[in-house]
Symmetry: C2
Subunit: 419 residues, 2 copies
């Protein structure tokens, strides 16, 4: 059945049928929040043994219970170095949230600059390039600081490099770009070698241009193991290492609310960050660091652990794709991306229908991420992008949720087509 080939009369008949089904779902009294990319209880259970680790001595004999070790315990640096192929000397371990670490880095740039250039608050305007659709919390931070966000479209394996180039070249107020390079939130884009080379070698007017590189899903593969090029090495090659702020965390490896985070950057960046950080804190929670390392051990073990996550996530993503195909393969009123990992499925309705679909779902008790949230200022000018987060609900609820979602897409589209 293809709505686009149907007569008005057929569409009206279909609308009547779809409305009936929708009314049935309205009565179901579902109460399901799929708004965020939260791991499920089953996924969290994979790491429960971390709670049982009651050691407090680091491998070099330091006491993780006491003050000190501002930049994190050695073995935590070694773990991240192993997993991400980064020099451990260039790693700083943080608290339970990369978002917090990213925010603090931006706050530091805003308040104090990068150590060589004036603080960003001294500029009338700061512009940040935002890959779209993207992660709402990234955009929220930029908005918080009053930075102007400029949309850069994602492509299949990168982003609109020509637009980025032309914006950066002559404009000193273009100070940075923010991206999720692997299994991007929400589209699942993974950056090609070319995209990363472009990023590392970008010619920028601003001397304090920064790449906010949030590699949140670096090893969060579901359908395919993706290994992208090493941005640290590329930036080193192009002598642009001072622009790199590389973030990673174990939030979606161990516990979402109780992981540990990491910042990696040039010697200068790490030294500068530590200098300011030493005023901000005596040190992050080293018990959390030690537990994480003793639990995850090393790269190989962590990769094995991530396969267990994938085994739980895959059937959920399968449901999303099979429902989408069942409903829309021959009825092109909805398109979607096919991510190889990560936490989201990005779909696009016909123009100007996303908000209505989300509203209709909400009426049935299904909370989706607000339409628009995947764009800066929450403004999706096509009003068509919706982020589906299938990780949290159990399989049966997800089935129902996807049935509801598909009906809502049909209903909104039919109502518009027959209006």
């Amino acid at each position: 059945m293809n709505y686009k080939e149907m007569t008005k009369k057929e569409l009206l008949e279909e609308l009547e049928l779809v409305r009936q089904k929708y009314k049935e779902y309205l009565k179901c009294g579902l109460n399901l929040d799929m708004s965020r990319g939260k791991p499920s209880d089953e996924q969290l259970d994979l790491s429960n043994d971390i709670l049982k680790i009651d050691t407090f001595k680091t491998k070099d004999g330091k006491d993780a219970r006491n003050y000190g070790i501002l930049d994190g315990i050695e073995e935590a640096k070694e773990l991240f170095s192993d997993i991400l192929d980064l020099p451990k000397e260039n790693i700083l371990i943080g608290g339970n949230s990369t978002l917090n670490m990213l925010y603090d880095c931006i706050a530091r740039l805003y308040m104090f600059g990068d150590g060589e250039n004036k603080p960003w608050h001294k500029y009338d305007k700061i512009k940040i390039l935002c890959l779209v659709p993207g992660y709402d919390r990234h955009f929220d931070i930029m908005e918080e600081f009053g930075f102007e966000m400029i949309n850069i479209n994602l492509t299949k394996d990168g982003f609109d490099i020509e637009k980025v180039r032309s914006l950066c070249k002559d404009d000193d107020s273009v100070k940075g770009i923010i991206c999720v390079p692997v299994h991007s939130n929400p589209t699942g884009v993974c950056f090609s070698k070319k995209a990363l080379e472009n990023l590392a070698s970008l010619e920028t007017k601003a001397k304090d241009f920064k790449i906010f590189y949030d590699n949140a899903y670096a090893i969060h593969h579901i359908y395919e193991n993706i290994e992208i090029d090493n941005i640290f090495k590329l930036c080193k090659k192009y002598d642009t290492l001072d622009r790199l702020l590389y973030f990673f965390s174990t939030s979606k490896i161990t516990f979402a609310g109780g992981g540990i985070s990491m910042l990696c950057g040039s010697d200068k960046t790490i030294e500068y960050t530590k200098r300011h950080l030493s005023k901000q804190t005596i040190g992050y929670d080293k018990i959390a660091q030690l537990k994480t390392v003793l639990f995850l051990k090393n790269k190989n073990n962590t990769i094995e652990h991530m396969k267990k996550h994938a085994n739980i996530l895959k059937p959920k993503f399968d449901i999303v794709f099979s429902k989408l195909e069942e409903n829309f393969k021959d009825n092109a009123i909805l398109s979607w991306e096919n991510p190889k990992g990560g936490y989201f499925v990005s779909v696009n309705t016909e123009k100007n229908l996303a908000k209505e679909v989300v509203r209709l779902c909400k009426e049935c008790g299904l909370i989706l991420t607000n339409a628009g949230s995947t764009y800066p200022y929450k403004k999706d000018e096509n009003n068509s992008n919706i982020r589906i987060a299938p990780s949290y609900p159990p399989l049966d609820e997800l089935q129902t949720a996807m049935d509801i979602f598909c009906i809502c897409v049909r209903l909104a589209t039919l109502e518009k087509m027959t209006a």
Copy 2:
């Protein structure tokens, strides 16, 4: 023996004897860092059971492992509310460091203001009143932001209120005062009812005047249980609650590097803080919060736990005082405070000798807090205040350390007197 009553010849003879003793200590090869107020291993051991708690469900059935609960779990708010007699609705739970929380509050004022007045970075000058001698890390934060620090002398049970009054009354750039109201670092001053009333009722030109109230040692009694008046209630009485930023943590109750922190303020302050915090993080480590609550349980149990700390700390403070009395009771070349709790003993040498005493100690392998550190900009204009932190070393090492310290005070003083 009183140096001030001795003849030059006697002083020179005494100098020779003291030099001999000092040379013996030089040979000892001691290696002891008494620069920070770190709890001892024995104190940390008191809380090892916290490591064994492997629950993750909050009492209202939430999952502490997952994302969410920005302002902290209910039972953590209840615990702090119980311990400090503060309304739990006005409490926000943070990460492992009050210093970080204090820094973030100041950064927020600097970047965004307090929600009703312009950001502090828009002012040419911001002045902060600093009680002296005080906590070096407080002063470091103020210096980091380029605020002008103004020394306010501590008194026996408060501070120079007349100076504070005259500075605040007509100067809009005087934006805050920072204090440790109980067992103050380093002098041990505890604020009287009058001092607190003065603080709460202070007339300030600045509408966005803030009291940075770091109650770090609220229940950290050693010789006497001190209970001061409730600043929250006083500020409420004088309708100045919006100026209060009240900090507390369990760093020196459970683990120094792995406690949880708290901010308490007016409804408006908490609402405003949460609004900005929601951009900065998804939430702090709730596993740490839950463990802390399950371990400390309630006020009574926490007070009992603090008595165990006191039992470990008291013999150490006893050594400090007995050595000081033995050496300087009848030889007024050194004066000291008698704190009733906390982590420090504040001593004053004769003018211009503190740096030399610290240097002499260092030569013997005894690291003290740098002289000057207890003052803004590290400038003790008398060069006489030294902070002794007796908590960390074992008793026998502390004995030796105090012997060395006393010899160094004698040596430096004699060298000056005979110069």
